[in-house]
Amino acid sequence: MATRTIPSTVATTFAPLSARRLLIFGGIALIAGGMLFGDIFAVFVLHQNAGLQSEALIAASKAVAAQNPTAVKDIFKHLGGLLEDRGTKVDAHVHMIDAGYLALLLALLQPFVAFPLARKKVLAALFISGGVLLPVGVFLIHYVGLAYSPFAVIGWASILADSAGALLIIALLGEAWGLWKYFRGTRADVVEPDLPHEGSWSCRALLSGGTLLVLLGFLHGAWYAGVDLYRHETGEIIILSNMVDYSAANDVARAANEVRNFGNLAGEKAVNIAAHSHIIEFGLLAMLLSFVQPYVFLSEEWKRRWVKVMLAGSIILPVCVLLELRLGLLAGGIADIGGLMVIVALIGMLVGVLRYSGSLDTASGAAR
């Protein structure tokens, strides 16, 4: 793998142990970690969880037909646990990735934050800590529950997640205050250089491709909200009413059929929402990565390869998620491969940034 020399103008923007370096490393690692977690969740938990939900609803219908309210309550307690299991994993995945995006964004804004370098670093460390602790707390909610909690409905894992959310907000408000000072004319003692503007093919492809992905995601979201959202909401209530009526009439077979309809509707909603959110998030990621390209210490050929893999994965995943309704698990498998392509490209770029900082530190003597 050929490399290139580091331009001195780029090197000055990426000093050892600087806030920007912490935010770029932390941001890419959070995004890659969140995506990897999402892929593992999709393969090992998502479909199995949906199957268990359907089983629980059929069991509830049977309990209704048998006029057994106690059994119904037990089944719904179990169903609540299944929903919490799924929901907290989705939330952990989303929040980890979003914190990574915000970290990369803050890295871009560092030259415009009028604080001393040490304070910038504290804010960056605060932000990355919050970005790690928030998804960890959310993930643990299902497992910790209300054990030893002094509150009626909020457990210790929720408290951890909410506290981490507060850390993120404090860091963000601090950065906003620094920006406000900068635009009011205040300058820090040591002015951090602006981000290098690299007009390479990789940068341009990521910026244009990313904007296009976001636009496509927005158009799909508008289409879904206008055409399908209300139909899905009404359909869900009709199916639940039928389920209750058939079960009360001892018609378990028709109730089970409604459970299948409920599962199909939930699947239709889930794939539309997943396609919408993933294509927009990948678009945003592509745009953010365009700024990081000057720090990717790889040959232009390898940088192009990772960009192509990243953009291809960003299209394959949402399109195949949408096709899951027609093609089933085949499309789901291809979607997972699309997600993996994005992760691999991301890790490839992270390796490039690590090589860059290693070379820089060696050259400046910081690595000693």
Partner: protein
């Protein structure tokens, strides 16, 4: 940095921070209780059906529908405000590279900002006035503004590349 870039960065930061504060407030004071109501209503519907109290079962399903309708929109508003805020900050950093004049860039930035505020606001107002014309119109107008602005940004970057 141009005025359009500053507008997007400050607007984006304010929107993202507001979206997070809203999410924190919602998670601490409302979400847990709402999730309990959603789960409780659905379970209650089946329990009433098991007791053959069908009208009560349907009332419980209605309560489930209303609470879930509100919950979905509250979560959507939180995520859309933060997402749109982040998008505006990214655009703010590179807005000077758009192949348009500064007044046009300012117009696009303004459309992005107004659309990003108004679109989720319309969605949240739907929780107060279910099926109302004004909230839906606000949401549609806001999302149309954002979509048009995004299309303009895409064209601007494409022109800059060529």
């Amino acid at each position: 940095m141009s005025g359009a870039g500053k507008l997007l960065i400050f607007g984006g930061l304010a929107l993202a921070a507001f979206g997070m504060l809203y999410g924190l407030y919602y998670a601490v004071f409302i979400e847990h209780q709402t999730l309990d109501t959603i789960g409780g209503s659905l379970a209650g519907a089946f329990v009433h059906a098991a007791e053959r109290r069908i009208p009560e079962a349907h009332h419980a399903i209605d309560a489930y529908a209303t609470t879930k309708y509100n919950y979905v929109r509250q979560v959507d508003v939180h995520s859309h405000w933060i997402g749109l805020g982040m998008l505006m900050i990214v655009f703010g950093v590179v807005f000077d590279r758009l192949a348009f004049s500064e007044p046009t860039r300012l117009g696009i930035a303004m459309a992005l900002l107004v659309g990003s505020v108004v679109f989720p606001m319309g969605v949240i107002l739907q929780t107060i006035n279910h099926g109302g014309f004004f909230p839906s119109a606000l949401a549609v107008t806001g999302s149309a503004l954002v979509t048009i602005a995004l299309a303009a940004v895409t064209v601007g970057f494409a022109r800059a590349n060529s």
